[in-house]
């Protein structure tokens, strides 16, 4: 499948533990320190919208959202520019980039002890209605790619479920681990 625009989201375990505007200075600091890969450009604040993209760290290759548009609050990694490799490599790379950002956020001094991301569940979105329309056929076509991409992340296997049947929406797949996972750091350790 010719899919390059890949989104991965990890949810905050307790959304009430943090406020959206707390992420604004953190993302600005990430730009100052080049804390994550890529050409980091700016921070956009959409905290005034209850079902919106929240706070966005805009970059050339991929944006990082503290998002409330695709379900409850979570870190949403949106790959915009094609990553190298085959589709399973690209999916795996997006999961890894999202996990790296989650782990960094958890470790930020403002959030230490307060912010924790759920590691047993993630959301995958295909941000390309042309090549990956939201239907069962697309999900079926992607299953083998997921198996290859997430073998290391969820070695005890995982379940895939389409979030919505609404054909207008992007293909959105909930990925749930069949085994318990402690935290995002342990997921990252598995990926290496």
């Amino acid at each position: 499948m010719d899919l390059h625009k890949i989104i991965v989201k990890f949810f905050v375990a307790d959304p009430s533990s943090v406020k959206l505007d707390e992420f604004i200075p953190v993302f600005h600091r990430w730009i100052q320190k080049h804390a994550v890969e890529g050409t980091l450009i700016d921070v956009a604040d959409y905290g005034h919208l209850p079902q919106g993209p929240g706070v966005v760290l805009v970059a050339h290759e991929a944006d990082y959202f503290m998002d409330t548009m695709e379900g409850p609050l979570g870190l949403l990694y949106n790959r915009k520019i094609s990553a190298p490799g085959r589709l399973p490599d690209r999916i795996a790379a997006a999961f890894k980039a999202a996990l790296v950002a989650c782990a960094k956020l958890e470790a930020e001094p403002e959030f230490q002890g307060r912010l924790r991301f759920r590691a047993d569940e993630a959301l995958f979105l295909a941000n390309d209605r042309l090549h990956a329309p939201n239907n069962d056929e697309t999900l079926q076509a992607l299953r083998s790619d997921f198996s290859a991409a997430l073998a290391k992340v969820y070695p005890s296997n995982f379940d895939l479920r389409r979030v919505s049947e609404d054909a207008r929406r992007r293909l959105s797949v909930r990925v749930t681990s069949r085994a318990e996972v402690a935290d995002v750091s342990s997921l990252l350790a598995r990926i290496g």
């Binding site: 010719d2 625009k5 100052q32 604040d45 959409y46 005034h48 919208l49 079902q51 919106g52 050339h60």
Partner: protein, 738 residues
Amino acid sequence: MSQTWKDKLGDRIPADLGREIEIFENEITLRKQGKIDEKVFAETRLRRGAYGQRYDNGQRSDGTRTQLLSYPSAELTKGPMTLWDAPGMQRIKIPYGGVNPAQLETLAELAEEYSDGILHVTTRQDIQLHYVHIEDTPSLFRRLAAVGVTTREACGNTVRNVTGCPIAGVCRTETFDITPYARACSRFLLGHRDTQNFGRKFKVAFSGCAGEACGLAMLHDIGAVAKLVDGKRGFEFYVGGGLGSVPNQAKLFQEFLPEEELLPMTQAICRVFARLGEKKNRNTARLKFLVNKLGLEEFRRLVLDERKILTPEPAWTSYLKELRVTDENALKPAKALNGQPKPEGFEEWRRTNVYAQRQAGYSVATVTLPLGDFSARQARTLSDVARRYTEGTVRLTVEQNLVLRWISDADLPALYADLKAMGLGEPGAGSIVDIAACPGTDTCKLGISSSRGLAGELRTRLASRFQQMDQAVRGLHIKISGCFNSCGQHHISDLGFYGVSRKKGSWTVPHFQVLVGGQWEHNAGAYGLAVIAVPSKNIPEVVDRMTGAFLRERTKDESFQAWIKRIGKAKVRALLEDLATIPAHETKPEFYSDWRDPREYSNGDMGVGECAGEVVSPIDFGLAAAEREAFEAQLTLEAGDLRKAADQALRSMTTAAKELVLTKTPVADSLPDVVREFREKFFDTKLFWDPFTGGKFAQYFFTAVEHPPAVPTSDSVHRLVEEAQLFIEAAHSCRLKL
């Protein structure tokens, strides 16, 4: 080969639009190969609504230093100082704000796939997407074209979006529905051969009546206000209005322009503008300058002569045979609200957000969009809501909201519950909490202060006490621009703000100029003037003081505008004077960053801490004196002494120029000395030039000296005072470079 949107959409794209998009796609390829000049490509993309965006020159201050942004196509540009890979803004024209559910769904898709998930409504009923890559635009255009939307001529020196009252056709006070006329005008002018050679943009607006504000006819190049004479339809026809840095009230071109003359007369104006309008100096290229230069009578004569020689076109009148083509139908029968269960909050929302249509049993519901934004998810849900309650009759408004028309009254509670569920059920439409703001420093290259940050802050504070507010305060309007360019329409609100900056020792501090005296009603009937520049972080206190004083001092039923006029600007300034003081960095560092942006404020690549201590240089004193003089000119103007006000305005500019000159040369006493030295050392060297407007502000000074108004009029002195303020602002900016 991978499938493309062009393959998929095929003949759903109208042939003419498809061909244009194909040409643009080829131009992208040619630019990447270096076969099209960057300036030519810039105008090409602008004419398709693809703007540059802040930091697209590859530099950004991160609060500690200026970082270079490294992009893969490092050397390639899409315009002068505009890097190819840097994200840009895409403006999408929505004529008279009319949008249907299918179009909303497509806009949502585009926001998700090519932007950051946000749809932003502008003060001219457009939609803007931000952070768009130039190479995504052909697909974006095709998907829009497939649902009948074009971005053509959304920017550039073209006829921009044709705007109109969002409640046209259902309004209780309109003379007649202007929708079909706005639609016909938009279609007629789009791509017309006579609109392709302008020196500057050209804006048209329609209003159904003279008394309300919906169409804002008075601030457009052409403003058409519906009028009936002996039962015949036509328009009160205005020309030469505009905001921008120096606002200009439109002038009455014709008391009654019969409907069949609307398009040919507009065409004739376009031809005169294309032929005689300024082409080299973009700062004086809007129609308002041509009208002022020629005088209204001469301009009218030229246009009428032009009208006589036009070759008739079928489009001039063909639409008049099918005027009802834009008529809307209700989805549901009219039914009263009586007895319906009402959700919590409904009554308050209904009071501010519901307008009873002239068609009994139906209402218009305003969906208040905070800062003009709604998310892709909300857009999709809104399209469902529009289908559920209406025949898809949605319009965007110049107050950056959205209205749903033809709601059966009985459906209002259910509609409110639906809007509330998606986070869009806030009350306060058209009130003090419904603040309009341009993008400002968030994304605009010209932004000086954070207009959206300030708007968000004020909105939060005011909304928290909205229920307890006096009705007189609730009804006030606040509008904010990030710079003097008026995209937030700060001139036409009760309280207007535009972004400026000031020096404090080695620091630069974000400020806003406070404007009072503007009028939103009567199609933007009066323009406000700046009274004082206040640090951004003190603006909420400005609002509190102004509204508090208004409540205490107003006489019965006195409007805010009338109160300002009665107490005078000197008192307003005195009320706010202490708020202009910038506290020391050590005690209040928050004053040195802008709203919702923790970076230490910078309006360029200026370093921090280069000067020792808090030494105030003579030039700072001098520029403060110039500001004072400009303000005195305002007061004199207010008192009606036009000649003296003009002299004071000129003196304030001279003071500012002299202070700059004195930094380069020890003596400059006489006016000719100051002008000569200023020209030589600041204008010719381009030291005084603004990166985007060039030498425009210096020209204000030269013109004031060399061509003072022989007989000062209220309009000309108002303009001179405004120009003096802008000249002084430019002197402040120049001072930062010294």
